[in-house]
């Protein structure tokens, strides 16, 4: 620590280099913190639960190659055949699959004559839908009646519904549990809420109300239907093969889509995923460039001061003292840079969040980022500093040596 004063005195002696260094650190810190925060923010979107048993679920979109009148019976037969497959835990017919980007949305209101209070996604299916999706009931109970049938738009004939907790909270902010047994209005039609499930996402990952979903027990008998299949753990591939094998036995059968839910999720969050990958790259490259820069400058500083180092060594300084001097110098400059960067980051962040609707970077980020930055600088200085320590004290005897 007694090196402190000489270090500060050297700054006064040559100002440009330390000033540039501080500026560089400040700018790096500012970008690093913002990029890392954004990357993490995107990543947190990716890890939101969809409500489904994600690892073991797949869906198939297929046609019902029969007249409209026979389709209900066809669905019934398909479901029971697929359910009997040894690798399948549960199967359901549904009007849509979460996060696929294709689905129906509804207006939800608590009063009959009022404008809608909020929007919600919609899924209609058979009795087993809750089990196949792997949904967790947190209030009320499951469906009691036998499923109803409709050609399209099943919510028009439904009488009972189950909603997600997020939707319940949006409708009854004070006590969402009171929604059970209440009548709410779905596209202006009264429906009785039988139960509340914990989570079930709608079809669009970017939707503001993606956590709002309504489930009804109505089987849609349109030409194309979605079968959602939950496989036994570790047997998803077999389940998919066996399901397709069964379906294709029927003449005129077409498989429009066949995807595991993990694929669906990946596609749905492709943009977020790519963005977080890019930001991660920015962070890595930035750290690398900064480390290289610090390394280059430290090496240069050592070369320039070889004689002074030699003199200090000749006057009795230990190798550790020389290393300590350079490390301390770097640490001081880095801390000043981080301080400046913090102020800039906060100022910029306020602007940024105004422009781009970004959240303000939390303080922990600044602290962790600062520590990382400091460690990075120290690591990059270590090698040149050790090189400095190996300067022979005998160098002082050679006058005129510059390099």
């Amino acid at each position: 620590m007694r090196d402190l004063l000489p270090i500060i005195k050297t700054w006064n002696y040559s100002r440009t280099a330390p000033l540039l260094f501080v500026l560089q650190i400040a700018l790096t810190f500012m970008i690093l913190v913002n990029a890392a925060y954004m990357a993490l923010h995107k990543h947190s979107l990716l890890s939101r639960p969809s409500g489904l048993d994600e690892q073991h679920t797949f869906y198939v979109l297929t046609n019902l190659p029969s007249e409209a009148i026979a389709r209900a019976a066809d669905i019934d037969q398909d479901l029971s055949e697929i359910n009997d497959l040894p690798s399948v835990t549960s199967v359901s017919v549904t009007s849509g699959v979460p996060l696929t980007g294709w689905g129906r949305f509804l207006e939800v209101a608590t009063q009959a004559d009022s404008e809608y209070d909020t929007f919600s996604g919609y899924y209609g299916g058979d009795n087993a839908l809750l089990e196949t999706m792997g949904l967790e009931l947190v209030a009320g109970e499951g469906f009691s009646q036998a499923p109803l049938f409709a050609e399209t738009d099943g919510f028009r004939v439904a009488t009972e519904i189950i909603i997600t907790q997020a939707l319940a909270q949006a409708l009854y902010p004070d006590d969402w549990r009171q929604v059970v047994g209440q009548t709410i209005y779905i596209n202006k039609r009264p429906q009785q809420v039988r139960g509340v499930v914990k989570t079930l996402q709608a079809a669009w990952s970017f939707w503001a109300v993606v956590e709002h979903s309504v489930l009804a027990q109505v089987i849609e008998t349109s030409e194309y239907v979605y079968y959602l299949v939950r496989a036994e753990p570790g047997q998803q591939a077999e389940a998919m093969a066996q399901t397709i094998d069964y379906l294709m036995r029927r003449n005129g059968r077409k498989i429009e889509e066949l995807q595991t839910f993990e694929q669906v999720k990946q596609q749905s969050y492709q943009a977020e995923y790519s963005a977080s990958m890019t930001l991660l790259w920015v962070v890595v490259c930035l750290s690398l460039v900064t480390a290289l820069g610090v390394f280059g400058q430290a090496r240069f500083a050592v070369t320039r001061r070889r004689r002074q180092i030699g003199i200090r060594r000749a006057l009795g300084a230990q190798k550790e003292h020389i290393v300590g001097y350079f490390m301390l110098e770097n640490a001081l400059l880095t801390i000043v840079g981080i301080g400046l960067g913090c102020i800039a980051a906060m100022l910029l962040n306020v602007q940024f969040s105004n422009w781009f609707e970004l959240a303000v970077v939390p303080v922990e980020f600044l602290v962790i980022g600062g520590v990382c930055m400091l460690l990075l600088g120290q690591a990059a200085t270590l090698a040149p500093a050790c090189r400095a320590a190996s300067v022979s004290p005998a160098i002082t005897t050679r006058l005129g040596e510059l390099r």
């Binding site: 440009t16 280099a17 540039l20 790096t28 294709w102 050609e151 070369t303």
Partner: protein, 444 residues
């Protein structure tokens, strides 16, 4: 002559301090590459989709929505649906008041050659539109020509196929006159498109604006007459249910689902078309439809994409970040240049002592930064190309055409690298040229 000597000196100096010099070059290159990658993507996304037609293509939007409530309102402002009902589209098309009319819809079906087995069929996305589609959006045609006006009217089973499909089914040969089978129907090929990297693909769903154009194009009426509908592909919104579940009832309903583009030349035609739309809506109003406030909108492709928020903010953020990144890299290289030039104090004072002027020393070092900048720019261009390759892997949801530099950017990249490195090299260069003659010589 002296120039050449300076270049030689610069190259010698590069070799004298290989580590520092390469660090400078790499730093510049990384900064340039990062900036150019993000700039390329953002530039390609915001590019005018149809060159020269920025203010002649318009999406027609009408307020045919529910008298009881707005389609969508943001504060005081009322928004109208992006698409039209089938009947409005038909009426506007028949009235023939614009240069060109392009309705946009589509479906999905199994595509194969008539002689192929069912199992060889592949799912194809079909775009149903009008013959004007190709001329209005400058779609390049390799073989044949678009279908006739008659085909549009009668809904003939004719098709224009993409270069990809032509390659797959006909090995890239001229397939005009041949047939393809889409589901249960056989279509005669009238034209084959060339590669068509239209970006953004503004004319359909904004959500899918950065995908490739579809595989097969057919007359709009062919889709309608044959009741072809893919229930999970074509978006539609209804404020009142159709009379029954038949396709005719759907067509005559108040459901909106057809994007309708018109081409209008010049502001006078636009004004005339606006007047025409106004009188059309008035007429419809008299017969009981259009009971809301009259909002007729003509949006250019860019206006439409902005309105639908197709171009995400992430882009601007990425561009801003990468610009900061470039500045940082340049600051870094500036520091390194200072270090590099410092090692030459002796050389400068010697040159000054034997008669070189400040200006000559200044030029010498400028040439040196120029060399470093050029090398950095060249390396940066290579890195950027590699980076774009990686990006097209990571950004699979976007068309790979986005990840390609055009000539403008290829030229721009080294120019930015050179000018930026010379600019940021100025401070070290000025400092180096200020060294007094013979100041260091006493220590030799």
């Amino acid at each position: 002559m002296l120039m050449r000597y300076y270049f030689k000196l610069a190259w010698i100096s590069f070799k004298q301090t290989p580590l520092l010099s390469s660090l400078i070059v790499v730093t510049i290159a990384v900064g340039i590459a990062a900036t150019m990658i993000t700039y390329t993507i953002s530039y390609m996304m915001n590019k005018e989709p149809v060159p020269g037609k920025a203010d002649s293509l318009y999406l027609v939007q009408l307020n045919s929505w529910d008298p009881q409530k707005a389609y969508y309102s943001q504060g005081e402002e009322e928004r109208v649906p992006p698409y039209l009902t089938y009947q409005d589209m038909q009426n506007l098309w028949r009235a023939n008041q614009a240069q060109r009319h392009v309705p946009i819809s589509g479906y999905r079906d199994q595509l194969k050659l008539p002689q192929q087995a069912d199992s060889d069929a592949k799912t194809a996305l079909v775009r149903s539109t009008s013959r004007d589609f190709f001329s209005a959006f400058n779609a390049p045609i390799r073989f044949g020509s678009p279908w006739s006006v008659e085909a549009d009217r009668q809904g003939e089973l004719v098709a224009v196929i993409s270069a990809d499909v032509n390659q797959r089914l006909f090995n890239g040969q001229n397939s005009v006159g041949q047939s393809i089978r889409l589901g249960a129907l056989e279509y005669r090929i009238v034209a084959v498109l060339d590669n068509w990297p239209i970006l953004p693909r503004f004319y359909g769903e904004a959500m899918r604006a950065f995908r490739k154009p579809r595989d097969v194009f057919i007359p709009f009426e062919a889709q309608v007459r044959n009741e072809l509908w893919s229930s999970n592909l074509q978006a539609f919104e209804c404020w009142r249910d159709p009379e029954d579940s038949s396709f005719e009832a759907f067509l005559s309903s108040e459901c909106v689902w057809v994007y309708f583009w018109v081409e209008l030349n010049g502001p006078s035609e636009r004004l005339e078309y606006e007047e025409f739309l106004y009188s059309y809506v008035q007429e419809q109003r008299a017969s009981g439809r259009f009971q809301r406030k009259i909002i007729n909108k003509l949006s250019t492709p860019v206006e439409y994409l902005t309105q639908r928020e197709a171009i995400s903010q992430d882009n601007h953020i990425a561009l801003g970040l990468s610009l900061c990144f470039l500045i940082l890299c340049l600051l870094n290289s500036m520091n390194l240049m200072m270090a590099k030039f410092h090692t030459k104090t002796l050389e400068v004072s010697l040159r000054r002592a034997v008669g070189a002027s400040k200006r000559q020393v200044f030029y010498q070092f400028c040439i040196e930064t120029l060399l470093l900048g050029t090398l950095g720019g060249a390396l940066g261009l290579i890195l950027a190309q590699l980076g774009l390759k990686v990006c097209s892997q990571v950004y699979q949801h976007l068309s790979s055409d986005l990840m390609q530099m055009d000539l403008f950017i290829v030229v721009l990249t080294p120019l930015i690298a050179i000018s930026a490195s010379v600019l940021f090299g100025l401070l070290p260069v000025i400092r180096a040229s200020r060294i007094e003659p013979a100041s260091q010589l006493n220590s030799v």
